[in-house]
């Protein structure tokens, strides 16, 4: 992608250079043509002077009497421009109806003595090549007083159209070329008439000369303008799909305006379907809007705002459009306002180029810089053309603004392509970056998950260790320790030691049991406890009455809480077996509003709950501590006929489920 851009850059650079060279070449073309023709040696005469007179006549006739042209004939050098009549505007405004009275007819007369000298039947026919002319209304050419060419042009069109003319003077080679050529030109009183130098002689040479000029001056810009228009419509389609990018619409607008603006360059010599006034209005204001559109393109490219400049351009475009409306100003008025409008637009173009250049430099936008530079060049071209039109410099020179349009179209296409390519590049880079970010994010996430898992595992193991340790401290550890002391003291009762060790094994088994999932099933937990303690009950000869009923699931049951419950109840059974003479234990379960109740009752002689809780024994206090740790409540109830332990367990987890 980058290489393509580079290639495009190079091509565009060379085309820029090429177009500048071509423009320069075009402007010095006539001089070169003159030289080649001299070297050729064929009978082609370049006429750089003529006799001229003016009068006021009706429409041209098929022939003209030399006598009717009384003169005075003045020798003028060609190209020649008539002087601008004084105060024409006022006259035109006053009497718009009788247009003929305000037309000036200018006559140019040249003699063809050089061509007469050496008649050669092998050579080609003779033609007259008028490089450029300016007039309004009729143009008529007489050869030896006989009309050979006549066209009536739109006065408005003639403001611009200065097309070359190639007029055959004789149809066959056996006839001598005419001796005297008369060129009759009508012009609006408000405008100047003008005539370039003339070429006369060999038709083949003049035809090729004419064709080259025709190609360079009209067909090339015409074709490029059409091509640009096509790109413009494509751009418009893009804009329809992507409304968020006004640049595409601006490209389209500029392409259309460019084509419209050049309109007066391209039509043939025939009258147009649109009236002269409207044509003039359209082409003039197309420039104003084009300036505005280009300005907006700059703003888009540079991401800058110049509200006052934008408003100024908008005001110029609107006011020019309104003021030059044909039915408001009339033809004469339009002709008068038009130069002013051109001056204003030239100033606007200057501002456009200046602002564009400054922003392009400030934002380092190569696209903007290219366009701004080209605008500057176009402005220079415009001034040059204006000088030609105003007859300040050689009237025969090529107009350069059509090439400015060509260059502009090329540059805009180029800018679009670059933007497109860079957008594609950005998308690629973005997706590549995104992929990379996703990958790194994934690894990071996996890593942090792993670390989190490890941490949780460490913490879980630590918690479990603390739990088992505290349990060991209360039960298994102290039991084993007392067995050890008894053995060490040497006076141990075997049965007692065996009982302690059995208790230790039970403790261990219960600890392991507590870790087996009970699935929130309290009865299963109680069942396991009973199963483990079955042999002890059997040995002690106590009857166990199992009177449990189904209770709701306790979702908070986990190894920690399960062990607390097991220990509380184990302690209760141990106490009954050890400290009472009970021979019957009842275990029952029940449900109250928001909890589950386990009741263990015996038929022993009873004990003082207050003393047991306040005294030296740790049993009851341990049970209470464990109950509190799981958000449960424990209560005792004892009299001479028996004792009762009531353990209340909440349905839902309490504030802390683990000790």
């Amino acid at each position: 992608m980058k290489r393509e851009i580079g290639d495009f850059w190079r091509i565009s650079f060379w085309m820029l250079i090429g177009s500048v060279v071509a423009s320069l070449g075009a402007s010095i073309g006539p001089a070169l043509a003159q030289q080649t023709q001299g070297a050729h040696g064929n009978p082609v005469v370049h006429l750089t002077s003529a006799e001229m007179m003016t009068n006021s006549m009706g429409p041209p006739g098929s022939s003209v009497e030399a006598a009717s042209l009384t003169g005075p004939w003045i020798r003028v050098s060609l190209p020649h421009a008539t002087e601008r009549p004084l105060a024409p505007r006022r006259t035109a405004q006053r009497t718009g109806i009788d247009a003929g009275a305000h037309q000036t007819t200018t006559w140019y007369r040249v003699r063809t003595d050089e061509l007469q000298a050496d008649p050669d039947t092998n050579s080609d026919t003779t033609s007259l090549y008028i490089v450029r002319w300016q007039g309004a209304g009729d143009l008529a050419v007489y050869a030896d007083a006989r009309l050979v060419y006549h066209r009536t042009f739109s006065p408005g069109l003639n403001m611009f159209l200065h097309q070359s003319l190639l007029i055959p003077l004789n149809q066959t080679t056996d006839v001598r070329p005419p001796r005297v050529i008369l060129i009759r030109m009508d012009s609006e009183s408000a405008t100047r008439g003008a005539l370039s130098s003339l070429y006369m002689g060999d038709s083949a040479i003049l035809t090729s000369q004419y064709a080259v000029r025709e190609w360079i001056e009209y067909q090339l810009p015409y074709l490029s303008s059409a091509a640009f228009l096509a790109v413009g419509f494509f751009s418009f389609a893009v804009w329809i799909l992507r409304r968020r990018e006004p640049l595409y619409f601006l490209f389209f607008a500029i392409a259309v305006l460019n084509a419209v603006r050049r309109w007066h360059f391209y039509p043939g010599l025939e009258r147009l379907s649109v009236s002269d006034q409207w044509l003039g209005w359209i082409t003039l204001n197309a420039l104003a809007w084009q300036i505005l559109a280009l300005h907006l393109v700059f703003l888009q490219l540079h991401k800058r705002q110049h509200p006052w400049v934008t408003r100024g351009f908008l005001a110029l475009a609107i006011s020019s459009t309104v003021l030059t409306l044909p039915f408001l100003a009339g033809l004469q008025g339009a002709l008068g306002v038009r130069p002013l409008a051109y001056l204003a637009m030239m100033a606007a173009a200057f501002v456009l180029a200046a602002v564009g250049l400054r922003d392009a430099c400030a934002t380092r936008s190569s696209n903007g810089l290219l366009l701004a530079l080209w605008t500057t060049i176009s402005l220079l071209f415009g001034i040059y053309d204006w000088l030609i039109a105003a007859h300040r410099i050689d009237f025969e020179r090529y107009y350069l603004t059509p090439y400015a349009g060509m260059g502009l179209s090329f540059l805009l296409v180029f800018v679009m392509l670059r933007r497109y390519a860079s957008a594609m590049g950005q998308v690629e880079a973005l997706s590549a970056g995104l992929e990379q970010r996703v990958v790194s994010r994934e690894t990071w996430l996996a890593d942090s998950y792993r670390r989190l898992g490890e941490m949780e595992q460490r913490q879980a193991i630590n918690l479990e260790r603390q739990r088992l340790m505290s349990d060991m401290h209360d039960g298994l550890g102290s039991s084993l320790m007392s067995a050890l002391w008894a053995v060490e003291r040497g006076h141990f009762d075997e049965a007692e030691i065996a009982e302690i060790l059995k208790g230790c094994i039970d403790d261990l088994k219960l600890t392991i049991d507590s870790m087996e999932p009970v699935e929130a099933n309290l009865l299963l937990l109680l069942a396991k406890l009973r199963y483990r303690l079955a042999s002890r009950f059997e040995r002690s000869g106590i009857t166990l009455c199992w009177e449990v009923e189904d209770v709701p699931a306790l979702d908070w049951l986990d190894p920690g809480t399960a062990l607390h419950i097991l220990r509380i109840l184990q302690e209760a059974f141990t106490n009954i077996i050890k400290h009472t003479r009970a021979n019957e234990i009842h275990v029952a379960t029940g449900t109250d509003d928001n909890g589950v109740v386990v009741v263990i009752s015996d038929n022993g002689p009873g004990f003082s709950v207050e003393r047991a809780l306040g005294g030296e024994g740790r049993g009851l206090k341990n049970q209470r501590r464990r109950a509190e740790a799981i958000g449960a409540k424990i209560d005792w109830d004892s009299n001479a006929r028996g004792s009762r332990l009531i353990l209340w367990l909440p349905l839902r987890a309490a504030q802390s489920s683990a000790s």
Binding site: E516, E519, L523, Y531, A534
Partner: protein, 251 residues
């Protein structure tokens, strides 16, 4: 399964490598007039060899043998000594090992720290066709049957409570392709068997259950044996079905 003659002593075989455990069993049985220790093996290999000889009524097997797992001996015993009741001898009745043993064909288990009386009671119970059970094991069996029942392509060969279906009868009856979870989940276990298991998980003893269901204690213990057999059959059928699915076995 039952002894030929009621008054002849219960012949007990033992596979145990731990000397003390062995001693405790030997002492307990020798002190009992209705039992006779006929075979003693200390390794897996010896245990398997022992199965080639005349069958005993009850076989006690320790799972952790020096040259392998006692489960292999249990599995072989189920084939070689089909009428012999196998008890797993263990220090702690952890569910995983016990379930493994039951699936291999064990009829129950014996805790090594139980008293001599207890031990003889259990041996007698097994010899009479009963089996011991704990709440944990009951819970696991219930869970297992529910899962097997709900498995989309489970292989339940039969729901009739035939005591010992042979492996051949299983492989010839094609497994059902699929079963619905919503069907009665006791299609494998009978309603009474399920009831027994549920009561065990609630902490009731065999005696209490027999009173509640108005059956003899012996009947309850035979229910448990039957449940163990079904568990073995289910797990075996599942294994066969799985193997067939994976192409390890020809249809």
């Amino acid at each position: 399964m039952l002894r030929v003659a009621e008054n002849s002593p219960i012949r007990v075989a033992l596979v145990e490598d731990d000397l003390q455990s062995k001693g405790a069993v030997v002492a307990a049985i020798q002190a009992c007039s209705t039992m006779k220790l006929v075979e003693i093996a200390a390794t897996r290999a010896e245990g398997l060899l022992m199965l080639e000889r005349a069958p005993a009524d009850v076989l006690l097997v320790d799972l952790g043998l020096p040259d392998g797992s006692g489960v292999d001996v249990i599995r072989a015993a189920a084939v070689k000594w089909p009428d012999c009741g196998v008890l797993v001898s263990t220090i702690f009745d952890d569910e995983i090992h016990i379930m493994q043993a039951i699936e291999a064909g064990a009829s129950g288990y014996l805790l090594k720290d139980s008293s001599a009386k207890n031990m003889l009671d259990e041996i007698r119970c097994v010899s009479e066709g009963g089996s011991p059970i704990s709440p944990s094991i009951a819970r696991l069996i219930l869970k297992q049957f529910r899962r097997a029942h709900c498995a989309p392509q489970g292989a339940a060969p039969t729901s009739t409570p035939t005591p010992t279906p042979t492996p051949t009868s299983i492989s010839t009856s094609p497994p059902k392709k699929s079963r619905s979870c919503s069907a009665d989940e006791t299609s494998l276990l009978s309603a009474r068997e399920t009831e027994v298991l549920e009561l065990v998980t609630k902490g009731f003893t065999a005696n209490e259950i027999s009173e509640m269901m108005q059956l003899s204690r012996h009947t309850i213990l035979t229910f448990v044996r039957r449940i163990y057999t079904k568990l073995k059959v289910t797990s075996k059928a599942e294994a066969i079905y799985e193997a067939r699915n994976r192409g390890f076995l020809a249809d």
